[in-house]
């Protein structure tokens, strides 16, 4: 009954509160919203004017302030550094966990999303750059290897009959030249550097929720 008859300004306030508190643990947010909804229903009965409704909302204060008041006691039990072993494990597992048969990276993602030290934006960055972490570079390495091998084979053929270990010849052949090789090296650089950069970013941004 109270919900259906809710004043549009009150409904809007509740919506803003839910939005502001989206990073709170679900139970806390639901509890807070139930209290505020009850407050609004009590203070703004059906038929209340917009001006009166606004003054009730003004007395409540900005939703962000309420969410902020809810946060300090819910922060990590260690009052100082928000980076507990779980945050550090996530920071290490995201770039490197892929080497543990990929399971480590998945564990890193779970730790990342279950932590309250990061915003949703940081969690998305941590997950999407790069899925699988540095281990994702293995397929790229194979690709690069294939590109190099192709060239070696061609060179070995041109060295009519002479038995020269092709690997040696490739090394002496100098730097990358084909577009394939350059692309492969750029990809390797991105796939190795990006997860490390993201890990550094996560280590620095932990606990600094906006």
């Amino acid at each position: 009954m109270s919900t259906t008859a809710m004043h549009p300004l009150a409904a809007d306030y509740l919506r803003r509160l839910r939005q502001a508190g989206r990073n709170l643990p679900a139970g806390r947010l639901d509890d807070l919203c139930a209290e505020i909804e009850s407050h609004l229903a009590e203070a703004i009965p059906p038929g209340t004017s917009d001006a009166e409704a606004l003054s009730v909302i003004e007395r409540l204060g900005p939703p962000e302030e309420i969410v902020e008041a809810e946060q300090p006691p819910s922060a990590a039990p260690t009052a100082g550094d928000p980076r507990t072993w779980r945050e550090w494990a996530a920071i290490v597992l995201l770039p490197l966990g892929g080497f543990l048969f990929g399971v480590g990276w998945v564990a890193g993602v779970i730790l990342l999303w279950s932590s309250r030290a990061w915003s949703t934006r940081d969690k998305l960055i941590g997950t999407l750059i790069v899925p699988g972490g540095i281990a994702a570079f293995l397929p790229v390495l194979v690709l690069a290897g294939t590109a190099v091998k192709t060239r070696c084979v061609t060179q070995a053929r041109s060295a009519a009959g002479a038995f020269v270990p092709s690997a040696r010849r490739c090394v002496s052949a100098g730097g990358p030249s084909t577009p394939h090789e350059i692309l492969a090296i750029v990809l390797v650089a991105i796939v190795v550097v990006a997860p490390i950069a993201v890990a550094v970013h996560l280590a620095r941004s932990a606990g600094r929720l906006t």
Binding site: L32, S38, A41, I66, E70, P73
Partner: protein
């Protein structure tokens, strides 16, 4: 007043939980009633909404208990009661507060007459 605003708001925040306990000493009250009672006291609360997180903390600390109840007219209400723990906490604070207030008052009075 303005430059030391944060000190005042910290003081306020520090004593508010005891004010909630004091309001519950004589019996149960529902949250809206509690919040309005505190909001109506001059200079104590700037944003009424921030009292709800405070009530949640007092619940988790076991100083108060609460129960939702249907109301005959209007929305369901959450009724709060003080626990024995809350009562003991309030008594301890009240004694310390009196000493603290008297000391500060006497120093302020000395400063005014000096």
């Amino acid at each position: 007043m303005a430059p030391r605003d944060s000190t005042i708001s910290q003081l306020r925040r520090g004593v508010l939980e005891f004010c909630v306990l004091a309001l519950l000493r004589d019996g149960e009250r529902y949250s809206f009633d509690l919040v309005r009672a505190l909001g109506d006291v001059d200079g104590l609360v700037t944003s009424e909404g921030t009292l709800y997180p405070l009530l949640g903390r007092l619940r988790r600390e076991g100083l108060v208990e609460s129960m939702w109840r249907e109301s005959t007219a209007g929305p369901p209400r959450r009724y709060y009661t003080i626990t024995p723990d809350g009562d003991a906490t309030l008594r301890t604070f009240a004694a310390q507060w009196t000493r603290f207030r008297d000391s500060v008052d006497s120093l302020l009075a000395q400063g005014a007459t000096a």
